[in-house]
Symmetry: D3
Subunit: 165 residues, 6 copies
């Protein structure tokens, strides 16, 4: 039996922490679908296209990965994609509550799809896309926290913002 | 002595978790005033009028309930309404901190009015108005989490939003 | 209708934080039964008799208080005593989880008896019987954290312990 | 590729929450080895033999399950058993910290074996072997929280204890 | 050796809790630079100029204090100001996670500057600038939580807001 | 002015996390007194003499360090040693609550001595003396978590224990 997991997120942008979860997940699943949850009502820093490009660039070396975008109910998407599991990385405490709430809601909506939590590696536990953006905004050196390609895209984006002011 | 409690909240919309707290509270108090705290500065999903209608519809079967709207300092309202207690439902961890902060502030502003916490039933511990709205937005089946009437109103609201896009 | 609450605990010894909860509870209930949960399997610092004496001395000025000892299932005791509620003081975070676990278990065993949480006053939030004993052991000044009578009993107890070494 | 997970614990006794995790795990793994971690230095309520008997009785209806006992380093055991993952159930907050500490230590000792967390079903989130024993001790009705066979064993055990007093 | 600490924050407005941290910090450092982190992208209640005025008024009685504004990477600022430490007040739990995340990011960006946490006095543990503003908005008595001058500024600000509606 | 800090603990045994805190503390204080709190009522794994030897061996390369043992009230000891501060390492969440409780008690007993928290480096956040002992007990490789000398002492100790069985 082929086991498929969805790894959903906003990936705004993808970090080394996300990539760490993908690597760990590939030991457990035959295929991982990394899915940008696109909610047009929520503002993002990078466009969906930019996020797709960064994910593709960062994950091209891994086998059995598919990258996708979805706008809708996660469990419906899971059924459509024949997924056995929703993969989530657990970082620190504040994640935990929100993840529980989300996982319970998804279980209520569809009890067939399991939420599987993997623990992010120690070095990513307190690192998030948002704090990385905060550091990058002021020129902080964030190499080692994001792939090289993402680092460049962050610089370009912040340069274009400051140019426009 | 008649004991009166205020049960304040945004009720945007009222959920089965809120109704569970009202039921439990009626074992302890002679009257419960369910009060929509209306802060014009904060955006809500439903209007005050819609929230009132949903509360009235959902709570009409309970005796000793009054429904009200207030815009101001909760402890001033408590004094005006001759309340002995502010009733709050405790869900999970993240509530706890905020509830403590709020209860301490209210105690400082008026030490006569006690904050009383009841624990939401197990099935509501990780359910909130906001996660219910997120599920309803994409057509998730949330019957069993909100009263039937609220379920309909959520559908109508989301239909009217998507129509207008 | 007369509303009765049980306030269970080990009270080893009673602190000003406990007394604060009793005071707050008397605004909500017509009678509070302060009950030492006596588990012969668990070691306590003070004997049941000493704890009873300290509770009686500390609470004698309050009306509508009864002091009792119980060894058994709390909800059975609640039924026997015709209680509407189990009263618990919430201090800080670590309490919260344990209290939830306990309250849910009690609700499962008997859904008629409500657990009611009151927030301990700010000055008691991080104070527990055990940390008070730790300070008293080495002669720390704990007046203001426990009633005068309890302070004396702690001194006597620690004196008798060090004498016997 | 056959994927094997170890599900370690003290199972003192096994609860419906544990069984729920086994069920969920069987959707993700081809085989689950349920392993009693036997630490002779730690006191348990049931003997290893009793715990084994209860696990066998409770899990006999599931395919692809093996029950075992181990006394040593979990990651060494994992290597010996050719396991891909250590399976753990996440209940509430207090679990989370300890589980993180443990998972990180195991990753440091052997980075090949992944810790996989599944969320216990809502009804088991605040239920633990220890609180079930506390309720059973005083005759509380815990059917629905443990398998029927375990319920009987708990009664027998507590009866034999009270007889011997 | 002269030891210098930066005490960064939004101080929107400064509270007695902040002043308490400054006082405690002066026992440990020879000089404290209280720095308003000014992020033009984030909305504040008071302008930078108003916040500066309130800080100056509230801290003028303390020696060895400098007040400053900065817009950029905190660790760069620390280097420029020859600071040994970043001073932070710990209030309650929710602070803790965010503070950890921030401190770790700062350590990664510059490992020479230490983050030092002082615990806010008990009376400020659950009090924040935002809850004080919420109370002040509706005329709650917040004297004792902020300096007299800040109290007045809050009143003026809210009066001017309601006038303009 | 010379600034002195006490760094109290059980150090059973000292870990690389403790040493990390000492190093960080030496940037802030002119002298650090590392003090084993010796409570004869509490069982320890290593004797006081063994713990002293390990601390001395591990800290001999640092200047301005003194190692001591104390049995009594920490704040009394602080006064005797003319300390300005009690230094504590913050690891993860569970520490936080206990540290707050302790720091508040110490502030009540003597408001002159400040508790200063430093954050343990990321690699030590979820590592404790007790989990290291658990791993060492079964021969887990804990080099990198404790100094070499401590690693040897742990091996000797566990060897002598298993010999005696």
């Amino acid at each position: 039996m082929q086991r498929i997991a969805i790894y959903p997120g906003s990936f705004d942008p993808v970090t080394n922490g996300h990539i760490d979860i993908v690597k760990r997940g590939l030991n457990l699943f035959d295929k991982i679908i990394v899915t940008i949850l696109h909610n047009p009502a929520k503002k993002s820093f990078f466009t969906v296209e930019e996020r797709l490009e960064m994910l593709e660039n960062s994950l091209k070396k891994f086998p059995n990965i598919e990258i996708d975008v979805y706008n809708g109910l996660l469990v419906d998407y899971g059924v459509k994609r024949k997924a056995h599991a929703i993969l989530r990385g657990l970082r620190a405490l504040s994640d935990f509550e929100y993840e529980f709430e989300l996982a319970l809601m998804n279980t209520r909506l569809n009890s067939q799809i399991q939420t599987v939590f993997l623990m992010t590696g120690l070095q990513w536990i307190f690192t998030s896309s948002s704090i990385i953006k905060e550091a990058a905004r002021f020129g902080g050196n964030i190499s080692g926290m994001v792939p090289h390609f993402v680092n460049q895209k962050l610089k370009e984006k912040f340069d274009s913002i400051s140019d426009s002011i």
